[in-house]
Symmetry: C2
Amino acid sequence: MLAAAYEELDRDSFAALTLDRLARRSGVHVSTIRRRWRTVEGVVVELLAERGSTLPTPDTGDFRRDLTQLTQAIADFNNALRNRNVLQGLLAAAAHDPRVEEIVRAAFVRRIEEVTLIARQAVERGEIPEDTDPREVIAALAAPLYYRVLILRGSIDERLVHTTVETTYQAARSGVFVHKGDREG
Amino acid sequence: MLAAAYEELDRDSFAALTLDRLARRSGVHVSTIRRRWRTVEGVVVELLAERGSTLPTPDTGDFRRDLTQLTQAIADFNNALRNRNVLQGLLAAAAHDPRVEEIVRAAFVRRIEEVTLIARQAVERGEIPEDTDPREVIAALAAPLYYRVLILRGSIDERLVHTTVETTYQAARSGVFVHKGDREG
């Protein structure tokens, strides 16, 4: 089913995707799809979670190299047209439906949490200060890439990968993402 | 007309906005609205451009203070529910209509261009290196704020304003956004 949805999104935009089309392509009855996923958005959110999670978390033993590999992986993922279709379609759905909004938010929070390993290991190796908030590091890395895709509506080029890695690396090294005990975290 | 649209968006989401409702509230005939703006998206894009441009470009004589004021202004703007409704509605429309996509992109590029003054003056004062790309500085500042709103679906708090300003300031100071002659810019 998820593979069928992915194929459909390679041919056409999210707007054109319907449960009937998914049923036709996958051979699964439409009522079965509706029971399990409820809506097209439900299918696509699971698809996004599945494909997103197949991106391995880099673990090279070097913080800057880990950041570079992660940034490149996010860039490659979002530069594929069908993945961009999924993302933009989901955000469009989220604007109209609070349940989709919550699903999207939760999917990204979960994904960020997974790759915080990079920042936690950098702390352990002494490359960045203790009390660094690992989620802030990953959000800082991801933000310029999604800004390019969603706001500037462009693809993520080599230059942006470079500036994003350097910006995040330097900020993390110099303690911008350190939470003191007397602050929020 | 634009004021009427803004009032409607304070009461209800973008999804609920129609040309008929705009006509009723503004007293302008629906055919007149259609002739000038064509669609609800057309009205809202002009609204976004108008309200966005009323945010003054900070000019305090100090780069970090300018960045802080601009970040705070973007935060205040996006923390207002109706502005977030406008933004999310436009991105939803952009996912389905390439003309809206182009309008959104152009509006943000124009807005970025306006506030590049901050970076250009910082270069002139010698606070950041020559050959700094001023658009990259502004995009780096804006990205974490839109990531918070669009992806993490949260509001922009004081902590995010702080980390965003510091991250951008340090990166700009250390030359991350410098374009060498032998590169793209």
